[in-house]
Amino acid sequence: MAAASVYSSPGFDFSNTIRNSFLNDRGLSAPKATSTGTTIVGCLFKDGIVLGADTRATSGAIVADKNCEKIHYVTESIRCCGAGTAADTEFTTALISSNMELHALSTGRKPRVVTAMTMLKQMLFKYQGHIGAALVLGGVDATGPHLFTIHPHGSTDKLPYVTMGSGSLAAMAVFESGWRPDMEREEALQLVTAAISAGIFNDLGSGSNVDACVITASHTEMLRNFVKPNERVQKEKSYGFKRGTTAWKSEEIRSLVVSEEVTRVSDAMDTS
């Protein structure tokens, strides 16, 4: 059977590596993939799970996005925070989210956190760590609240409180001194905010605002920009230039709006 040339072969396509090493030898290095530097956390409380994340995305030493969203949707009551390569976390969680919906329809049951965890770990293991996604997966399902951490090589841990990303050590210090079992919602939110703030202020890869997400058996509440400790102060004066600052020699004004008349022919799609 002749191989169909229309379909590309499975797996990564490495054909650009030759070109890249050629360019590298001539002094042109590849741009750094946007990384989410990041502090992401998750913690178990009395009624469910609280997830937290900072909002800085970096490209090397430059902040590429000052307010990105790192808490991704998996299912109605399951969310996933992502650290590592931004594109990898984004697409990995989107793929598993899609598969979880299909799985729920196929089984006729509400989706479970362990299902998402197994799908994620098996995919990441298959790619042997080349997909740089470090995830904190949390949610509430029919069996109760669950919190997992998933590393890029595919190992998972099940714990009551977790932190990932470059700011994870700062955040874990806060958790280790502050976490208690069966906390109330407000306490848990306070603890998560403190942990993310520790990452924002002590880790260069994390910054800007705190995002939070509270997941309970009854509903999920996404608290986007829950705390904004880095708002820019109002500039001391307006730095706009008055009209006439730059002199001009001649002026020509053309209208770019072309008048058009739309005539309806028929509603039916042309299938000829």
């Binding site: 197994t118 770990k121 293991f125 042997q128 760590g129 590393h151 595919g154 190992s155 998972t156 841990d157």
Partner: protein, 241 residues
Amino acid sequence: MQAVDIHALKAGEVNLGTSIMAVQFKDGVVVGADSRTTTGSYIANRVTDKLTHVHDRIYCCRSGSAADTQAVADSVHYAMQMYAQQHGAPPPVHTAASIFQKVCYENKDALSAGIIIGGWDKEVGPSVYNIPLGGGLFRQPWAIGGSGSTYVYGYCDATFQEGWGKEETVNFVKNTLSLAMSRDGSSGGVIRMCVITEDGVERLFVPGNELPRFWEGKEVLGVDPLKPRSAPGPVPMAVEV
């Protein structure tokens, strides 16, 4: 063929530093492990459960790469469920060990996994199998593994005896792991043990502050390192007039 360093973990990979062991006794097997998982020098999980259920009376202890051993254990767990479903009987421990060996040997270039299997079945009774890095299968009355095991070979050789009951075996495992954890930086946390017998599996837990203690240097230092020293009171400063 270039020599492949199968002992090195890839950069950023989570490491099950580890001290693990399994010991066979009269009525069953005791499997035990520490609880530390490291990424470089950071402890990613200080309460890991390295004793993984493969079947009702078969448990495995994992050391090496966390990702590799979890993936292999999941795969064997699935195979054992299929076996039980198709044969209508629980799998022998040797079968589980053989599947582990098959995976570990055939993928030896890509895996970094040291596994010890302990279990009970009806035909043979209790048995312990050791599968080190290369993928060989070795049945032994007791087996130790992981980075911490190197420090306790002497203790185990000198202490182990055939014909022990459950209590003596549990003590042996507890003491061995405690000694390994106190000397190996990649091992620590708490001790988890499973006692697997015909009647069931009993999970035992020893928290970090209740570990058996051995020599801690009192004779050399002159002070008990764990007893709090009284703070010295204010001393008048010598002033030159």
